[in-house]
């Protein structure tokens, strides 16, 4: 049996770890609430914009805008949205696994990467993937301008013909206990041309002008959505994993305390036996 001092030291260290995980859980919970609020505010706007675009697109000639062009896919770009920090359960690793599998399936030499978050950048840098751009350390003061900036560079990459398709892999916030890894095609925009209602509709000022303003805005809003969803998911994942860690620490403290008491009693018993034995020998 381990000696008393060792057990006491371990209990102490587990207790202090528990304090840290508890604090992290609380911080994540506060951040998540804020992030979730922001995300839920943004959802109706991005959904309605999506709807309008899908009502408009079937009536549009694909040659009108470079962003709509469908080319033979020789090269793809992947936007991988991760967190800057770990300690969020399998949040980062699951996503990176999915992203890497998809990229490898297409051939890693034919994929340009845009990494969001340190974890994503580090993972792919270490494995020698072709990273074009990475954005890190902006989550704390994330705003719509960040989304626009990231969006612009990746969209330019598509327009100048460097890649023929843009995929996004991110964590979608289902609820606090559940995040879903989603892989979507951002560009070229897909739609079913049979959706065209053939309605006699008015477009003002003109179809061209509408497409030209709507689509760039749509892409920015999408990008913003990816960031918000991922951030809320990250905080939720961290909150949950820290809660688990805290309760695991609690279990461990319980076990160790039991062990400690057993050891203590065993020591007392031995001591008593020794005393009694000594007294008998004298008598």
């Amino acid at each position: 049996m381990a000696n008393l001092k060792d057990i006491r030291d371990r209990i102490k260290s587990v207790k202090s770890i528990q304090k840290v995980t508890k604090a992290m859980k609380m911080v994540a919970a506060a951040k998540m609430r804020k992030a979730q609020e922001r995300m839920e505010q943004a959802r109706p706007y991005s959904n309605s914009l999506d709807e309008i675009i899908h009502h408009l697109l079937p009536d549009i000639d694909r040659n009108m805008l470079p962003l709509l062009e469908i080319r033979k896919v020789k090269r793809k770009a992947y936007l991988v949205v991760c967190a800057d920090r770990g300690l969020a359960g399998a949040f980062n690793s699951n996503l990176l696994k999915v992203a890497q599998r998809e990229i490898d399936a297409f051939g890693k030499d034919n994929v340009d990467l845009f990494c969001i978050g340190k974890k994503s950048r580090d993972h792919f840098t270490y494995r020698n993937y072709n990273i074009i751009e990475s954005h890190i350390d902006f989550w704390a003061e994330m705003d719509f301008d960040n989304a626009m900036m990231i969006g612009r560079s990746i969209i330019d990459h598509f327009i100048n013909g460097s890649v023929d398709e843009i995929h996004v892999v991110y964590n979608y916030f289902v609820n606090v206990a559940q995040q879903e890894i989603k892989s979507e095609i951002l560009l070229p925009l897909t739609y079913d041309s049979s959706d065209s209602k053939g309605l006699d509709r008015l477009y003002e000022p003109s179809k061209e002008a509408l497409v030209n303003t709507l689509i760039p805005r749509h892409l920015n809003v999408q990008m913003w959505k990816y960031l918000l969803e991922s951030y809320a998911s990250e905080q939720a994942a961290r909150m949950l994993s820290m809660e688990n860690a805290t309760s695991n620490a609690q279990d461990m403290i319980k076990d160790l305390t039991l062990q400690f008491n057993k050891a203590r009693q065993a020591a007392i018993t031995t001591e008593m036996l020794e005393i009694v034995g000594g007294a008998e020998a004298l008598g």
């Binding site: 505010q41 943004a42 109706p44 706007y45 309605s48 914009l49 709807e51 309008i52 009502h55 408009l56 719509f144 309605l199 006699d200 509709r201 008015l202 477009y203 003002e204 000022p205 002008a209 509408l210 303003t213 709507l214 809003v221 913003w224």
Partner: protein
Amino acid sequence: MNSYTVEIITPIRGIKFKDVEYLRCPGLDGSFGVMKKHRGGIFALSIGEIKINQNGANEYFATGGGFAEILDDSVKLLVESLEKSNEIDLARANKSLNRAKKRKIERSSELNDARIEASLARAINRLTISKR
């Protein structure tokens, strides 16, 4: 009943109006009105005023532009900003007006002219509508 539903959605909030009889939006080439059975379509909106007539009462909003989609029995407005006429923060509006004016005179910043003009127009618009 000749009324329909109007939904105004901005990136930070959404408002729904039921039983709207008349809606006036700032189109790019001037305002246009929408009543029930308006022809469907998609319209770009500029900076200006949205007027909604609901149950005979008028409400006015300042907007920073966006899009309107007119559907069979509803209208959806997607706008960048929305402020009700009596909720406009006058101090803020005046401040951004002065800032825009100053920028227009200086023209030194890397902001382009279109952006300066737009922020000036937004500030003037807000102030005008706040007097409703």
